[in-house]
C-alpha cells in the first residue's frame, strides 16, 4: 500500500450530493402524502404517497451506498491525510452534538409538562381559575393516567422489559468497546466476534422494544393518543429506537467491513464513528430509563 497522503485531499466533483438531495426530497414528499392519505386531519385523496416514500428510501439507500463506496475506496487507497482523519472525527462529534440537542427538545418538553403544564392545569400557582373553569375534575399526577379531557391509560413499569433492555444496551456498549480494543490491537478474529455480539444485543434490544410497544398498545391502553404521557413516552422511545436502528445499521456495515479486513489499527475512523454513535444512543437510553420509565 502507498504511504499516507500528506496533502489535504479535496475530491474533484461528485454527483452523489445532488442525487441525495433529490432522493431525500422524494422521500419526505412521499412521507407527507402517505401520512395525509392515511390519517383524517386533512383531505388528500390520492394513494401513491407510500410508493413515493419507498422510491425515496430506495433512492437514498442507493445514493448513500455509492457515495460511501467512493469514500471507502479513497480510504483504502490511503488518500486521506492524518489531518483529514481529524476532520472526519470532528465532523462526527459535532453531528452527535446536534443529535443530543434533538433529544434535548423532547426531554425539555417532558420536563416542562411534568413539572409545569400538568400542575398548572390542576390549579397550581396562579392557575386556580384555569382548573376551576376548564377541567374542575382534573388532578395532576405523573405518569398522567387520566388527561383533563378524560382519556385514560396505564403506566409502563420500569422493572420488567425496560430493565432487561437497559442491561442489554449497556452490555452492548461494553462489547463494542472490546471490539474497539481488538481493532486497535489489529486482532481481526476478535473484532469480528465482539462486533457480532454487539450486533446481536443491538437487534435484540429492538425486538424487545417492539414487543414492549405491542404490550403497551394491547394491554395497557398506552398509545400515542392517550394524552401527554403517551405522547412523550412514544416520541422519546420511538426516536431513540430509530437511532438505535441507525446505529445498528452502521455497526452491521462495520461488521462486514471488518470481515473484509478494512479496519486497520491506524485507519478505522468509520468504526470509531459508529462506536461513538452507539455509545451516544446508549447514554440517551439511560436518561430515558430514568426519566421516562422510572421516575
Amino acid at each position: 500500500m502507498a504511504e499516507k497522503a500528506t496533502t489535504y485531499y479535496v475530491p474533484h466533483s461528485s454527483p452523489w450530493p445532488i442525487f441525495a438531495s433529490i432522493a431525500l426530497g422524494t422521500l419526505v414528499l412521499g412521507l407527507v402524502h402517505f401520512i395525509q392519505q392515511n390519517t383524517s386531519a386533512v383531505d388528500n385523496d390520492g394513494s401513491l404517497g407510500g410508493l413515493m416514500f419507498l422510491v425515496g428510501v430506495a433512492g437514498m439507500i442507493t445514493v448513500l451506498s455509492l457515495w460511501w463506496r467512493d469514500t471507502i475506496t479513497e480510504s483504502l487507497a490511503n488518500m486521506n491525510s492524518a489531518q483529514m482523519d481529524v476532520s472526519y472525527r470532528m465532523g462526527m462529534m459535532w453531528f452527535i452534538f446536534s443529535e443530543v440537542m434533538f433529544f434535548a427538545a423532547f426531554f425539555g418538553a417532558l420536563f416542562y409538562v411534568r413539572n409545569l403544564a400538568v400542575p398548572w392545569l390542576a390549579g397550581e400557582g396562579s392557575n386556580e381559575m384555569t382548573n376551576a373553569l376548564l377541567w374542575p375534575e382534573f388532578e395532576a399526577s405523573w405518569p398522567l393516567l387520566m388527561t383533563p379531557g378524560g382519556d385514560t391509560t396505564q403506566a409502563m413499569g420500569p422493572w420488567g422489559l425496560p430493565l432487561i433492555n437497559t442491561i442489554i444496551l449497556i452490555t452492548s456498549s461494553v462489547t463494542c468497546t472490546f471490539a474497539h480494543h481488538a481493532v486497535v490491537a489489529g486482532d481481526r478474529a476478535k473484532q469480528v466476534r465482539w462486533l457480532g455480539i454487539t450486533l446481536i444485543l443491538g437487534y435484540a434490544f429492538l425486538v424487545l422494544q417492539g414487543y414492549e410497544y405491542k404490550h403497551a398498545y394491547q394491554d395497557l391502553g398506552l398509545t400515542l393518543d392517550a394524552g401527554i404521557y403517551g405522547s412523550t413516552f412514544f416520541m422519546l422511545t420511538g426516536f431513540h429506537g430509530l437511532h438505535v436502528t441507525m446505529g445498528a445499521t452502521m455497526l452491521t456495515v462495520m461488521y462486514f467491513r471488518s470481515r473484509k479486513g478494512h479496519l486497520t489499527p491506524d485507519n478505522h475512523f468509520a468504526f470509531e464513528a459508529a462506536a461513538w454513535y452507539w455509545h451516544f444512543v446508549d447514554v440517551v437510553w439511560v436518561f430515558l430509563f430514568i426519566f421516562v420509565y422510572w421516575l
Binding site: P17, I18, L24, V42, F102
Partner: protein
C-alpha cells in the same frame, strides 16, 4: 488525482462541484433569488396596507403573505447568504485549501433548492387557487399551526426539516474547517473577526436547528397521530410550543446578525486604515452574546402569563445582552476615531449598519422590559424593531460584504455609480419604510392584520412608498452583481483596497481568486 484540477465544463460544474468558491457562489445566487421572492411577498403586504380597508387581497391570503415573507427571508435569503460568504471567505481567510468536508458542502447547498421548491410550490398553488400556503405567521405557533392549519403545513414541516439538515451540515463544515484547517501560525486569536463570528454562529446553528426539528416533528404528530404536546385537553400546553420555538428562535436571530458583525469588523478597519479596536474584547463579546442567547428566549412570551420570577429572569438576562453589544458598537466607533477614513460603498453600508443596527438595538432594549412589552407586544413597534436589525442590520451587513469582496471574487471593481445609487436609495427608503412603524406601533397598530384604523392611514401610505422604493432599489444591486459577474469593470489589483493586504490573507491572493487558493498552506507570522 490531479493536484490542480480546474472546474468541470458546463452545468456539471455547478451540480457536482466540491469547490468552496463554486458552492459559495451557488449559495449567494440562491439567496439573491429568495431575497427577491420574499421581497415580492412583502410588496403584496405593503400594497394591501397602503390604504385602510381591504382592497388588494383577502385576509386569508394576507396571512399567507406575512408568513411566507418571514420564512423565505429568514431561511432562504439571510441564512444562505451568510453561508455563501462563509464558503467563499473562510478558507481564504485562514489559509485552507477548501472547506473540510467538500462533498457534504455540496449536499448542504443542494438541499436548499429542494426545501424551497416545496415551500414555494405551496405559495404558487395558493396564488392559483389551490388550497392555502402556510398562514400562521413565521413563528408557526400552535394551535394555529396544528388544529387550524391548512394541508400545506405538513409540506412546510418537511421543508423545515430539509433546511435544518442543510444548516446543520453547513455549520459542522464551518466548525471543522476553522478548527482543523487553519494555516500554521494562524492561532485562534489571530483569526479575522468574520471567522470568529462564523465559528460562534455555527455553534449556535448546530445547537438549535435540531430543536427546531423537534418542534416541527411534534407539530406533525399532534396534527396526525393524536399526540397532545400542544393540546391542554391531553395534558400538554400550547405555550410549550412557544418555549421550544423560541429556544431555537432567539439564538436564531443572533445567527442572523453575528456574521454581519464579522463583516463590518472587517470593513471598518480597512477604510479607517487602523487596526480593529479591541479585537479580543470583540471575540469575547461575540461569545457572550451567543451564550446569553440561550437564556433569553421567554422575552418573546411575556404576555403569555409567565410566572413572575420567570419574567424577571428573562427581562434581566435580555438587558444584559446590551453590554457585549455595546462593547462592539463602541469598538467600531473607536476604530474609526482619528482614522484616515474614506467612504467607498462597502464602508458606507458598514456605517449605515452601525447606526441603524444600534437603533434596532435600542428598540430591543425597550421591548426587553416586561411591563413595557405588555404595551408594545404584537404591534408594529415590534415589526419596526426586528426589521431594523434584520434589514438595515443583517441585510446591510451582507450588502457591505458583497461590495467589499466582489472585486476579489470577480477581479473587477463594481460599477461605482450604480453601487452608490443602491446605497443611497436603500438607506433612504429603508428608513422611510421602517421608522414610521415605530410611531404607528406605539400608537397601537397591531401587526399581522390586513386592515387598520383611519388614524394610521397617513403613516402607512408613506411606509408603503418606502417599501416599494426599497424593493425597487434592490434591482440596482442585481444590476451591479450581474455586471461584475460578467467581468465588466475596471480590473483591480490583488489587494483591491489601499493597504488591505495587511488586514487579511484574502487580499494577498490574485484577483479574481484562483479556483484553488492555498494548496500548500501559507505560514502566518
Amino acid at each position: 488525482m490531479g493536484e490542480h484540477h480546474g472546474p468541470d465544463k458546463g452545468i456539471k460544474r455547478w451540480l457536482y462541484t466540491t469547490n468552496h468558491k463554486d458552492i459559495g457562489t451557488l449559495y449567494l445566487c440562491f439567496s439573491l433569488a429568495m431575497f427577491f421572492l420574499g421581497g415580492i411577498l412583502a410588496m403584496v403586504i405593503r400594497a394591501e396596507l397602503m390604504y385602510p380597508g381591504l382592497q388588494v387581497v383577502d385576509p386569508d391570503f394576507f396571512n399567507q403573505m406575512t408568513t411566507c415573507h418571514g420564512l423565505v427571508m429568514v431561511f432562504g435569503a439571510i441564512m444562505p447568504a451568510f453561508v455563501g460568504l462563509a464558503n467563499w471567505m473562510i478558507p481564504m481567510m485562514i489559509g485552507a485549501p477548501d472547506m473540510a468536508l467538500p462533498r457534504m458542502n455540496n449536499w448542504s447547498f443542494w438541499l436548499l433548492p429542494v426545501a424551497f421548491s416545496i415551500l414555494t410550490s405551496s405559495i404558487i398553488m395558493s396564488t392559483l387557487g389551490f388550497g392555502q400556503a402556510p398562514n400562521f405567521g413565521w413563528t408557526f405557533y400552535a394551535p394555529l399551526s396544528t388544529t387550524y392549519a391548512p394541508a400545506s403545513t405538513d409540506f412546510f414541516i418537511v421543508s423545515v426539516h430539509l433546511m435544518g439538515i442543510s444548516s446543520i451540515m453547513g455549520a459542522i463544515n464551518v466548525v471543522v474547517t476553522i478548527f482543523n484547517l487553519r494555516a500554521p501560525g494562524m492561532t485562534l486569536m489571530k483569526m479575522p473577526l468574520f471567522v470568529w463570528t462564523w465559528l460562534i454562529t455555527a455553534f449556535l446553528l448546530i445547537a438549535v436547528m435540531p430543536v427546531l426539528a423537534g418542534a416541527v416533528t411534534m407539530m406533525l404528530t399532534d396534527r396526525h397521530f393524536g399526540t397532545s404536546f400542544f393540546d391542554a385537553a391531553g395534558g400538554g400546553d400550547p405555550v410549550l410550543f412557544q418555549h421550544i420555538f423560541w429556544f431555537f428562535g432567539h439564538p436564531e436571530v443572533y445567527i442572523m446578525i453575528l456574521p454581519s458583525f464579522g463583516v463590518v469588523s472587517a470593513i471598518i478597519p480597512t477604510f479607517s486604515r487602523k487596526p480593529l479596536f479591541g479585537y479580543a474584547s470583540m471575540v469575547y463579546a461575540t461569545a457572550s452574546i451567543a451564550l446569553l442567547s440561550f437564556v433569553v428566549w421567554a422575552h418573546h412570551m411575556f404576555t403569555t402569563g409567565l410566572p413572575l420570577a420567570g419574567a424577571l429572569f428573562f427581562m434581566y438576562m435580555t438587558m444584559l445582552i446590551s453590554i457585549p453589544t455595546g462593547v462592539k458598537v463602541f469598538n467600531w466607533v473607536a476604530t474609526m476615531w482619528r482614522g484616515s477614513m474614506t467612504f467607498e460603498v462597502p464602508m458606507k453600508f458598514a456605517l449605515a449598519f452601525v447606526i441603524l443596527f444600534t437603533i434596532g438595538g435600542f428598540s430591543g432594549l425597550m421591548l426587553a422590559m416586561t411591563p413595557i412589552d405588555y404595551q408594545y407586544h404584537e404591534t408594529y413597534f415590534v415589526v419596526a424593531h426586528f426589521h431594523y436589525v434584520l434589514v438595515s442590520g443583517a441585510a446591510f451587513g451582507i450588502f457591505a460584504g458583497v461590495y467589499y469582496w466582489l472585486p476579489k471574487w470577480t477581479g473587477v471593481m463594481y460599477n461605482e455609480k450604480l453601487a452608490n445609487a443602491h446605497f443611497w436609495c436603500s438607506t433612504i427608503f429603508v428608513n422611510l419604510l421602517f421608522f414610521p412603524m415605530h410611531f404607528v406601533g406605539l400608537a397601537g397598530m397591531p401587526r399581522r392584520i390586513p386592515d387598520y384604523s383611519w388614524q394610521f392611514a397617513d403613516f402607512n401610505w408613506w411606509i408603503s412608498i418606502g417599501g416599494f422604493g426599497f424593493g425597487l432599489s434592490q434591482l440596482l444591486l442585481l444590476a451591479v452583481v450581474i455586471q461584475a459577474g460578467r467581468g465588466k469593470g475596471k480590473k483591480v489589483s490583488d489587494e483591491v483596497w489601499e493597504g488591505a493586504e495587511k488586514w487579511g490573507l484574502e487580499w494577498t491572493v490574485p484577483s479574481p481568486a484562483p479556483y484553488h487558493t492555498f494548496s500548500t498552506p501559507p505560514v502566518i507570522k
